[in-house]
């Protein structure tokens, strides 16, 4: 850390998100504004001098210095997580890294990689890996009138309720393309503000031409489905095994491949 500390840091800040204290320092004060826009939803600025995690970023927003190639660098504590000639890459990587850090180290919340919408005062969860079609399904559900909660994490509290994590949806135009961020309001959707109990968990993935014939899962197997996408599963298994069964206490859990999202939206919402 001493080597990093010796670099000249122009500005810094600290914030708290879900009980995790994070510090950020930058080589250029102008960068800080861009970073603030990319903090996890629910982050609150803090005056704490001691933090659990420290990000150090050297970025060059206008990297047009002739032949000199200046890399944009990002460190999480002592570990370099980003090295890129593109400043936008640095911002993207900071955003996903800091979200993951908060998700892993939050002590009273369990973060499950899932899309979430609200419907009739209860939540519908769609856990799944990247490229399983979570965001597409969430987009169709909110277009059909569901309330937007998240397209990235289901944030579960100790009572098993889902809290909103309403960052803009990351819509991908093709499989290898980077996600374009679109706010839920642009789809005409409302954004949730209150925690909800879970009504339905849909473990699914897209398969062209597939018919939606899901099978019901038991609560225990439902917990495994969520645990397979839980960020802190390895680091805090006690918390996960305390929260996830509670979250599924009165939930229906189904699993199966689906075809086009538009074909199943009505079935889900009825």
């Amino acid at each position: 850390m001493a080597k990093l500390d010796r670099l000249g840091w122009a500005d810094g800040m600290s914030f708290t998100a879900y009980g995790v204290r994070v510090g950020v320092r930058v080589n250029d004060a102008a960068i800080l504004r861009e970073l603030i826009a990319r903090l996890p939803p629910g982050s609150q600025s803090s005056s704490a001098h001691r933090v659990d995690h420290l990000y150090s970023l050297t970025g060059f927003p206008t990297n047009s210095n002739g032949k000199v190639r200046r890399f944009n660098l990002g460190y999480w504590n002592l570990l370099r997580f980003s090295r890129s000639q593109s400043f936008d890459n640095l911002l993207d990587e900071f955003e996903s890294h800091v979200q993951l850090t908060v998700a892993e180290y939050a002590t009273r919340r369990v973060f499950v990689h899932a899309g979430v919408v609200g419907w009739n005062g209860r939540a519908i969860l769609i856990p799944g890996a990247s490229y399983s079609g979570k965001t597409t399904l969430v987009e169709h559900l909110i277009r059909a009138g569901a309330t937007y909660y998240s397209d990235e994490y289901a944030v579960l509290d100790e009572r098993g309720r889902v809290h909103p994590y309403a960052r803009p949806l990351g819509i991908r135009m093709s499989e290898t393309a980077r996600a374009t961020k679109i706010r839920a309001e642009e789809f005409g959707a409302q954004v949730g503000s209150k925690p909800l109990p879970i009504d339905l968990v849909i473990s699914t993935g897209f398969k062209a031409g597939a018919r939606w014939r899901p099978r019901k899962l038991t609560r225990g197997k439902g917990v495994l489905e969520l645990l397979a996408h839980t960020v802190s599963a390895r680091s805090q298994p006690e918390l996960a095994l305390s929260v996830l069964p509670k979250a599924l206490e009165s939930a229906r859990i189904v699993k199966g491949v689906r075809g086009e999202a538009s074909e199943i939206v009505e079935l889900i919402l009825t």
Binding site: D92, E93, F111, R178, A179, R234, S242
Partner: protein
């Protein structure tokens, strides 16, 4: 010398496990292997009685009492086999499946018994944190390995998983 399997006294492993009981199932997280298991009612019943004192025959009797039907030892063997494969028993004895008794025959034999569910242990490997977050697929442009599902960003392109 031939072992009397019915007198074997299996012992459940307890160290390094996080256990959560549900009404009809048992969830177990193994902190040594980072695997999570869901035992159905029958598998959970057997595992909870593997205390190193009860013999296979006694466990079968207790399970029969619970099911109010006379059950075959094979159902307990099938449970022990799965528990053993998932490292949930200490020093498990080799079950009949490894001694020439076909697993399919076992299930077929159990199929005749509707009084109790076939023991099932469902398992998953718990994800590493980055595996439980959005990542880029093989072929996508990347700036750092952490962005890629494969965890390898090679010349600005994610390697395939």
């Amino acid at each position: 010398m031939k072992t009397n399997h019915r007198q074997q006294k299996p012992l459940a492993r307890k160290e390094g496990l996080v256990i959560k009981e549900l009404p009809d199932e048992l969830l177990i997280y193994d902190t040594e292997t980072d695997r999570a298991h869901c035992l159905n009612e029958t598998a959970a019943f057997v595992w909870q009685r593997c205390d190193g004192r009860k013999s296979l025959a006694e466990i079968t009797r207790e399970l029969s009492r619970k099911a109010t039907a006379k059950l075959d030892d094979k159902i307990v063997w099938l449970a022990l086999d799965q528990l053993s494969r998932n490292r949930l028993l200490i020093d498990p004895a080799p079950p009949p499946t490894r001694q020439g008794i076909n697993r399919r025959d076992m299930v077929r034999a159990l199929g005749l018994t509707a009084a109790v569910a076939v023991p099932v242990v469902a398992s998953i490997v718990a994800p590493r944190p980055a595996e439980a977050a959005s990542c880029l697929p093989g072929g996508a442009q990347c700036g750092a390995s952490v962005q890629c599902c494969s965890n390898l960003c090679n010349d600005g392109v994610c390697a395939s998983t």
